[in-house]
């Protein structure tokens, strides 16, 4: 008994730690993730289990940023790391360095499962999709500030419209916690829309191309719900043309690439100017067509009026001369012209109608067509 060396708990634990950590300095363990906890510290805690055993595991923050997809309970994965002993608790655990999902099948399955569920719930309904405003006064962009995507979007926006107002809400677009940041960014922009940025009309949610794991945060329910609950219409532009994420299905519009999203949102200033110019040209042309058309009509009317007046005058003239002729025919002078004559009493100029009114020796005046003569009555014949 005396020869037995008595160790303190600390000493024994240190020895165990040494042995374990020397032997298991790099292991690959396959198991199912369970009891997943992601506190705000950024470290991730979970258990890796199979049918017979389970292993505590921790994924520190600095290692977790490398993980491109979201961890979930029930997910089968291969963890690479070392086994360490946490002396204070007397526990050994796996310090995870990297996690690979067990086959693409697992992610695909998770994707199909969520897609199916949200679809049944109506999150993808066409009727729910809102139109993208034609010329939004301000555009919200949710993406990472690092990388080419934000520059691509800004370049396209400003090439098309040199005076656009863009509000960027930065969010990580891959790795653990990215989904939550994206969802929060969408919410923040909506909140701003209600307060300082009433002019905001649309949100672009964008990320460059990547593997299925890279894009995984866009397949998470929290992002889908944030898009669904957004009062502002959302255009998703995630990955390349061939990549479809849950976010794309919920979004009001899907753009094949981030640049394409910028094109959809912003009409080209040049095209707008041309359109207005075109309208103005049409307006002028219409008026120009219209004025001569009217002027011609007026000219025509004047001409018609003049013609009518001329005709009228001619008709009046003809009537006048025929009246003159008539009058002429009735004139006593015309009778005289035909060889008749008028005899009047010399003293009172009264016409002599009957020989009985005359006396022998009386003087009468006889008017002819030309001139007159005075004669004395020498005999009365009855």
């Amino acid at each position: 008994m005396k020869t037995q060396k008595i160790l303190t708990v600390s000493e024994l634990t240190r020895d165990i730690k040494e042995v374990i950590e020397n032997v298991f300095c790099e292991v690959f363990v396959e198991g199912e993730i369970s009891n997943l906890r992601q506190p705000s510290s950024g470290h991730v805690y979970f258990s890796l289990k199979d049918e017979q055993a389970q292993l505590r595991a921790v994924l520190f923050k600095n290692a977790s940023v490398r993980i491109k997809f979201a961890l979930a309970d029930g997910m089968k994965a291969v963890c690479q790391g070392r086994v360490g002993v946490y002396e204070r608790d007397g526990q050994y655990q796996l310090y995870v360095n990297d996690i690979t999902p067990k086959g693409q099948g697992a992610l695909q399955l998770a994707f199909e499962g969520l897609k199916d569920r949200l679809s049944k719930e109506g999150l993808f309904d066409e009727a729910r999709k809102r139109p993208i405003p034609f010329l939004p006064q301000a555009i919200g962009v949710v993406t990472s500030l690092t990388g080419a995507v934000i520059q691509d979007i800004l370049n396209v926006l400003y090439r098309r419209f040199p005076a656009a107002h863009v509000v960027i809400c930065p969010a990580r677009v891959q790795g653990p916690g990215a989904a939550e940041e994206i969802a929060a960014a969408i919410k923040d922009l909506n909140e701003l829309k209600l307060k300082e940025l009433k002019t905001m009309g649309v949100i672009i949610l964008a990320r460059g191309g990547g593997s299925l794991e890279d894009l995984w945060c866009f397949n998470e329910e929290s992002v889908a719900r944030a898009i669904f609950n957004s009062a502002l219409p959302v255009i998703s532009a995630v990955g390349h043309q061939t990549d479809y994420t849950i976010a794309d299905f919920v979004a009001d519009r899907r753009a094949p690439t981030p640049s394409a999203a910028a094109e959809i949102v912003m009409p080209s200033r040049l095209e707008l100017d041309e359109r207005i110019e075109n309208f103005l040209t049409h307006l002028w042309r219409n008026l120009m067509d219209f004025v001569p058309e009217h002027a011609q009509r007026i000219d025509g009317l004047i001409e018609q009026a003049a013609r009518a007046l001329r005709q009228r005058v001619r008709a009046e003239e003809m009537r006048f001369s025929s009246v003159l002729n008539e009058m002429d025919a009735l004139s006593p002078l015309a009778v005289l012209k035909r060889g008749y004559s008028v005899t009047t009493a010399l003293d009172n100029d009264k016409c002599v109608f009957s020989a009985n009114s005359l006396k022998k020796g009386e003087l009468v005046k006889t008017r002819l067509s030309k001139g007159a003569f005075i004669s004395e009555i020498t005999q009365i014949v009855v």
Binding site: A164, L189, R269
Partner: protein, 72 residues
Amino acid sequence: MGFEENLKKLEKIVEELHSEKLSLEKSIEKFEDGVKLADTCIKSLDSMKKKIEVISKAKDGKIKIMPFEEKE
């Protein structure tokens, strides 16, 4: 009145002038309306200013808007 609505109105006026038989007076009136609308459209395009901002969240959860430094 939004830019898009004005543009649509302008489009309608052009169509009306094109297709309908209007009196000279009415069409001059429409023409004047159209020129005014085109002017308003251009003005509202010109009134837009380039502005890039970025949002950051303080620890107390308050949202701050700051100008965005463009990288060249």
